[in-house]
């Protein structure tokens, strides 16, 4: 290692306190301990990506079983209940366990590099986000193995179908608790990213010089912290209805099922933008690089992202046009929904403006980016159609809607995320993914996707309702369904092969320089893969596309590099406590899931008359959680110093007195 590390504990008091704890502070960077206690945003980002890609494949397999069941009319490959469980788990998995964490992986890995930070603001909190995501995903999927199997309530869980009366199974309880734990993951992550972007930008990196992806990270994070409380409340109310006899959603007790829909969609609609804004950020990075031009209308693209985020909270009832809202409410939400298509259109116009007059290089990431614009545009057009309630009355809950949101979420989010993986892969690993193979995969995915989802427009307009596991031959839906299934198989094959290529390239990919794309933003200035401390020097920013200006710009716009002081670069210490907090929450959550169930039904070889109560698991789990939080606070950030090698510090200068930083 060319880096000299010195493990002086910053605060001796901390070190002293630790030695009395259960564990001493972990120092190993490698192996299983290093992985479980890491606070490095880059390792956490990779772990997020691995988890998300795993769940993407799980959700994909669920989708393929769904498609195989629908391939022919009155098929009996799987029964109705299994089908209902599969679409519930497919939706939940793809939204909460695949697309969101894959975006979070990019936030974690790329955003600090783009703003010239050494890590996120709260490294241990970042680790907590990772572990709660993984354990939340495990909780939801554990439901398959218990009485009643996975939930069969739809990913939206409309009351009163979720009540104990209509869904007596444990699956719904696993779903509630899993989503609550995942909510913690999203919230701590978002607070962390906001703090990081607001406070930890390199000197000279003003807000209007932020790379677009970082802007979208910021906006998405705000959406998450404003939207998730709504679903948290809804889930708490549902949990109380199911376990403790309240009647928030039960008509017999004076509750209202429509309350769930309002709470769910005031979360659920911003959630749609939580899924698509990071994708738009990635696209806004990739298009300028491969057109060799700056982003067209940067301020307007940023502003329209913010407007989308803002309006995203004002359109939730367009998911409820058929629930019998009044004329005024229906009209208001219809017109607001139409309005939101304007900032979305602005983005598309500006992306076209970006490639206009450029020199387009058709690399794999660029193909995915251009594919994204086409597919997202299609999804946007169908979105305009059902912003009109009379049209929506026919399309709501039909396959037309399925076509619409898969165009937005696969053709949009997934295309952009794959694009981001191809684009940033050399930065993360120092290796390339094969370009020719990548292009073949792009065309496979593109064709498979359109073959799978375009016929669904026709199915929807000819009356096929969604969430039905079978249909009669005389409906005339057989051909479109057959072709849709064939397309889905091609798409699934493409995605699976992509994951294989990804794994292969990690080990066998061609080695490359730190800037293989001739890119524009700051992350391409540092080594590939970046060192633990990201940048050996403190960059001073003088332009929006700093890396580009360094290569082609005027002297005055080039970046300055300030050498770290003589005590080197301060790095945060690793910690066990984020993992312990997550495990505590996991145990407490399982206690709520099993609350009121007879013990003998759950644990083999146990014969006793008692039911599981909160005292058995929930209280111990919460005690563990709070103990770990307490220890976490006492432990302090800790830290040690690293000294970059002299060749990494070439071209740097000493800090002026006014540039001295706290760390």
């Amino acid at each position: 290692m060319s880096t000299a590390a010195s493990h002086e504990q910053i605060a001796d008091i901390d070190a002293g306190a630790d030695s009395h704890g259960i564990w001493t502070r972990p120092l190993r960077k490698t192996g299983i301990v290093g992985f479980l206690t890491t606070v490095d945003h880059k390792k956490i980002g990779i772990a997020y990506a691995v988890g998300a890609l795993f769940f993407l494949l799980v959700g994909g397999v669920e989708a393929l079983i769904i498609r195989l069941q629908l391939m022919t009319p009155e098929n009996d490959l799987i029964d109705a209940r299994t089908y209902n469980q599969l679409f519930t788990m497919h939706g939940t998995t793809m939204v909460f366990l695949a697309v969101m964490p894959l975006s979070a992986a990019f936030f974690n890995y790329i955003m600090p590099l783009q703003i010239g930070a050494r890590d996120v603001a709260f490294p241990r909190l970042n680790a907590l986000g990772l572990w709660t995501f993984i354990l939340g995903g495990i909780v939801i999927n554990l439901s398959w193995f218990f009485q009643g199997g996975a939930p069969a309530i739809g990913w939206f869980g409309y009351a009163p179908l979720t009540s104990r009366q209509f869904s007596p199974d444990l699956g719904t309880d696993f779903w509630i608790i899993g989503l609550q734990i995942l909510g913690i993951a999203s919230l701590v992550g978002s607070f962390n990213f906001i703090t990081t972007i607001v406070n930890m930008r390199a000197p000279g990196m003003s807000m209007m010089r932020l790379p677009l992806f970082t802007w979208m990270t910021l906006i998405t994070s705000f959406l998450i912290i404003l939207a998730f409380p709504a679903i948290t409340i809804a889930l708490v109310e549902l949990m109380f209805d199911r376990h403790f006899g309240t009647h928030f959603f039960e008509v017999s007790g004076g509750g209202k099922p429509i309350l769930w829909q309002h709470l769910f969609w005031i979360f659920g609609h911003p959630e749609v933008y939580i899924l698509i804004l990071p994708a738009m950020g990635i696209i806004s990075e990739v298009l300028p690089v491969f057109s060799r031009k700056p982003l067209f209308g940067y301020p307007l693209v940023v502003f329209s992202g913010a407007v989308i985020g803002f309006l995203g909270f004002a359109v939730w009832s367009h998911h409820m046009f058929t629930t019998g809202l009044g004329i005024v409410a229906t009209s208001a939400f219809a017109f607001l929904t139409m309005l939101i298509s304007i900032p979305t259109g602005v983005k598309i116009f500006n992306w076209i403006g970006t490639i206009w007059g450029g020199r387009i290089r058709f690399t794999t990431p660029m193909l995915f980016a251009l594919g994204f614009i086409w597919m997202f545009m299609m999804g946007g057009f169908t979105g305009i159609m059902h912003s009109s309630p009379p049209v929506d009355a026919q399309q709501q809950d039909s396959y037309f809607v399925i076509a619409h949101f898969h165009y937005v979420l696969i053709g949009g989010s997934i295309f952009a995320l794959i694009c981001g993986i191809y684009y940033w892969f050399p930065k993360v690993t120092g290796r390339m993914m094969n370009d020719f193979f990548g292009k073949i995969l792009f065309y496979t995915i593109f064709i498979g996707f359109n073959l799978a989802f375009f016929p669904m427009h026709i199915l929807g307009m000819s009356g096929m309702p969604r969430r039905t596991h079978t249909y009669k031959a005389e409906m005339g839906w057989s051909e479109a369904n057959l072709w849709s299934t064939i397309g889905a198989l091609i798409l699934g094959f493409g995605i699976a092969t992509f994951v294989i290529q990804l794994i292969y390239s990690c080990f066998r990919g061609e080695k490359t320089s730190s800037d293989p794309w001739d890119a524009r933003t700051l992350e391409w200035e540092t080594a590939s893969p970046p060192k633990e401390y990201n940048f050996a020097y403190n960059p001073v920013i003088h332009a929006r596309d700093q890396s580009w200006e360094n290569k082609y710009g005027k002297t005055g716009k080039r970046m300055e590099k300030i050498a770290p002081g003589e005590h080197g670069i301060h790095m945060p210490d690793q910690s066990w406590w984020p993992l312990v907090v997550s495990i505590g929450l996991f145990i407490a959550g399982m206690g709520v899931v099993f609350h009121g169930q007879p013990l003998e039904a759950l644990v083999p070889f146990v014969t006793s008359e008692i039911d599981v109560s909160l005292l058995h698991l929930t209280v111990p789990g919460l005690v563990l959680t709070f103990y770990a939080i307490f220890k976490w606070a006492l432990e302090g950030p800790g830290g040690y110093h690293l000294h970059p090698s002299p060749e990494e510090l070439k071209g740097t200068r000493e800090a002026q007195p006014h540039e001295q930083q706290g760390h």
Partner: protein, 381 residues
Amino acid sequence: MKWLGYIWIGILLIVTAISIPQCLFTSDGSVMNMMGQQSALDPQGPISQNQADIFYITLWVTLFLFVTVGGTLAFSIWKFRARKDDDPNTLPPQSHGHPLIEVGLVVASAALLVVIAIPTFGGIILKKKVPVEYEADAIEVTVTGYQWWWGFEYPEYGFHTANELVFPAGRAVKLKLRANDVIHSFWLPKLAGKTDLMPGQENTMWIKADEPGYFWGQCAEYCGDSHAYMLFRAKALEEADWEDWLARQQTETVVDGAGYTPVALEEAPDNHDAEMIEHGTELFVENCARCHSVDPRVQTSGPNLAHFGSRSSIAAGWLENDPENLARWIREPHEIKPGNFMWKGFPDPNDSRVIQMEGLDGADLSEGDVEALVAYLYTLQ
């Protein structure tokens, strides 16, 4: 190895080329299945007509956008591609944007939306309010959604029926929508888009068929295990047929009094004797009557079966109503509609492990019993 990639893409393109005509022209010969049984693009009434019209407006607007915006995108991808003879050192002009173009496009998109917004407003009002000219001779029907069937009540005439909505053509039908258990959604695509049936809330909508006809509808909100089997049929009748139907539905099917005895309505068909029908009636009272009322004035927890023989479908629109299907439906309802209460019984709402009303699971009906039940049920014309 590259040629393998090209061959693979070639195969995919051929598959796509084969799929396009098959998806556009369905087996019944209509383009994009537009004439299909549940197609929203084959409107047969004023509401669905209005909804289809607005759909076409949005379709044309978005097609226009697709051609202009997509055309520009395609053109610029082609025009500004990097060429082999490009000098790698010349940079394209680093333009950062053009305020006039940007603002101009925002204004243009807003203007296009107005084109959609105005008819939208009219459509919202039309679905909610019956126009004055139809108000006078409108009839009323209360629709109730159950897991997984439909109850139709005609409050002006005081009788119930199930799973088949019958109404006069050319007259408006005002629907009151309710749900008994979970949320369902009433969707009759050829006559109107859907409105949800919400527990604890009464929604309204109206429909009208321009001509007599036979329509298919389906529950459009996920409502549990057998959601896919929750269909219904609708019949718009000529005025005279409608009067006939009304009169028949109001015929008594039970003998009033302490016994509450169902009686066979009509003479037995040739191959069944009166004894068999008698036996069927007894079996019905013993096994079915707790959930299925045969009194048109009384609605119990299962579909009302008074005048069952006059309906065209059974099992909530899933099977055609013929003796063979009916026998199968009585023998193994759980095979046809999984999760169905007719087989496993009606669970106690407070504890789903307790059965409140027995289903056919334990009834142990013989082939002869089933035959007798079928014979009885078809007397209820």
